[in-house]
Symmetry: C2
Subunit: 121 residues, 2 copies
DNA sequence: ATAATATATGAACAGATGCTCATAAGTTCA
DNA sequence: TGAACTTATGAGCATCTGTTCATATATTAT
């Protein structure tokens, strides 16, 4: 009695499309890389931080000016700059009492650009 | 008596670096565009969704297979696919009992690529 | 030293998020 | 029709997040 061969397979939790899952699984980046990527995008996923970064596209600014530009408290901006700093996206520079922040990455602008293309589609 | 001109200005909440703030402010995209951009990146800011998208780079897959690949419940995957669908990042196609999802955007891969460059720097 | 200004930081709180669970909806096959 | 299977969805909940507030730190000028 020949075993009935299933050509187009169902999606039983056991009889999954094993071929597909195996092939795709092999091409996936490491768990760690995907996690880090998500962490990076998480940083971009807040409109305050997006605004800060966009402002710094133009030129370096101090905390106070950013706060004024975005009409937010110094504290809130400082907290967010810390997040950006930890993600190695901005770099601080002291000048007297002021801390000037500037962008520390060349790829951000390209990432944002592609993001805007998606939005405006 | 000549008015003392302030060259490098202080950061009083009143005497902000008005020139800078004004110039940068003019170049900022609209509030709405920046908000939408943040929303898009928020979608990328979760490792489950990152994994789903990366899997779909290879080929379309059904809910069940994605769940199996990522070792998660069907429900969790379905919820996340909904988020991706609402963001117009994936597109569903029915085939019998299965819903096959595929990527609906050409720019995602470029965005992810640039993101990885930042991480590996 | 003290005062004034700029920034940083911890605690607290409200709101958002992602998963699980239960259940519903849609499809196929007997 | 009903049973089996796949996917979708709402509720509940634990966790995470972004802001505010109070306070600390750092620099400059008096």
């Amino acid at each position: 009695m020949p075993v009935k061969k299933k050509e187009k397979i169902q999606c039983d939790s056991n009889i999954v499309h094993e071929e597909i899952v195996r092939r795709v699984g092999q091409k996936m980046p490491s768990e760690e890389a995907l996690y880090d990527l998500a962490e990076l995008f998480k940083v971009f996923g807040d409109s305050t931080r997006i605004k800060i970064i966009w402002a710094l596209f133009e030129e370096e600014m101090c905390v106070c000016d950013i706060a004024h530009l975005l009409n937010m408290t110094h504290s809130a901006i400082s907290h967010q700059l810390r997040v950006l700093k930890q993600a190695r996206l901005v770099r601080p520079r002291r000048e007297g009492k002021n801390m000037y922040y500037s962008l520390d990455d060349q790829h951000i602008e390209e990432i944002f650009h592609q993001g805007l293309i998606h939005i405006n589609e």
